[in-house]
């Protein structure tokens, strides 16, 4: 096996392993806030590792560029989604909140 093939296999193992581990993390955590943390590794490390493996295999052909594009899209959109979901969870739990000037935010989680 060539050094490049070994590197591709290692990147694939890293990507798939991280994604599987974060799936298990989503399953075992208690509430939605804890679960949201585990979507982060699956949308940063895993797509970058897999896209890097594809680029190593194909160089910058149409396939490689599109794989990188998918990784970048996941990387950019997931923080927005995580923020929106956490905000929705908090509003459901504690109601809408507005902060007046100089006022502390009420409703800390128990």
């Amino acid at each position: 096996m060539s050094p490049r093939g070994l590197l591709v296999a290692a990147l694939l193992v890293v990507g798939v392993g991280v994604a599987l581990a974060s799936c298990v993390g989503v399953l075992v955590m208690r509430d939605a806030y804890d679960r949201l943390h585990y979507t982060a590794p699956a949308t940063t490390i895993a797509p970058l590792a897999i896209a890097a493996a594809i680029v190593l295999e194909e160089s910058f052909s149409a396939a490689g560029i599109k794989a990188l594009l998918v990784a970048v899209v996941l990387l950019v959109t997931n923080p927005v989604l995580t923020h929106a979901t956490a905000r929705a969870a908090r509003i459901r739990e504690l109601g809408e909140w507005t902060v007046q000037e100089g006022e502390q935010v009420k409703g800390e989680r128990p």
Binding site: V8, A9, L12, G15, V16, A19, L20, S22, C23, V24, V26, L27, D31, A32, R35, L36, Y38, T39, A42, T43, A46, P47, I50, A51, I54, E57, E58, S61, A62, A63, K66, A67, L69, V70, V73, L74, T77, N78, V80, L81, T82, A84, T85, R87, A88, A89, I91, R92
Partner: protein
């Protein structure tokens, strides 16, 4: 059967915990499971496109990445008040 196909099959196992999360708990927890499943599905499509060696299949992964983001945002917006 090349290494890309093996990786895609291994990653498909990760959909099982996401499905279990989607079936239990309150709507926000289920939404998190759905978002996670969307991310894992995107990666599976990426690996399958490379396994079959057709550059056009990568567009599927790109479309799923964009649409699962849009779907997650719509669900989060609705969960803030109405559901």
């Amino acid at each position: 059967m090349n290494e890309w196909l093996v990786a895609a099959l291994a990653l498909l196992v990760g959909l099982v915990p996401c499905g279990v999360v989607c079936l239990r708990g309150d709507p926000v927890n289920r939404l998190v499971g759905l978002e996670m499943a969307g991310a894992v599905d995107t990666l599976v499509l990426l690996l399958l496109a490379q396994a079959y060696g057709r550059a056009i299949y990568f567009d599927l992964a790109l479309a799923l990445a964009l649409l699962s983001f849009a779907g997650g945002m719509v669900f989060a917006r609705f969960l803030e008040r109405w559901i």
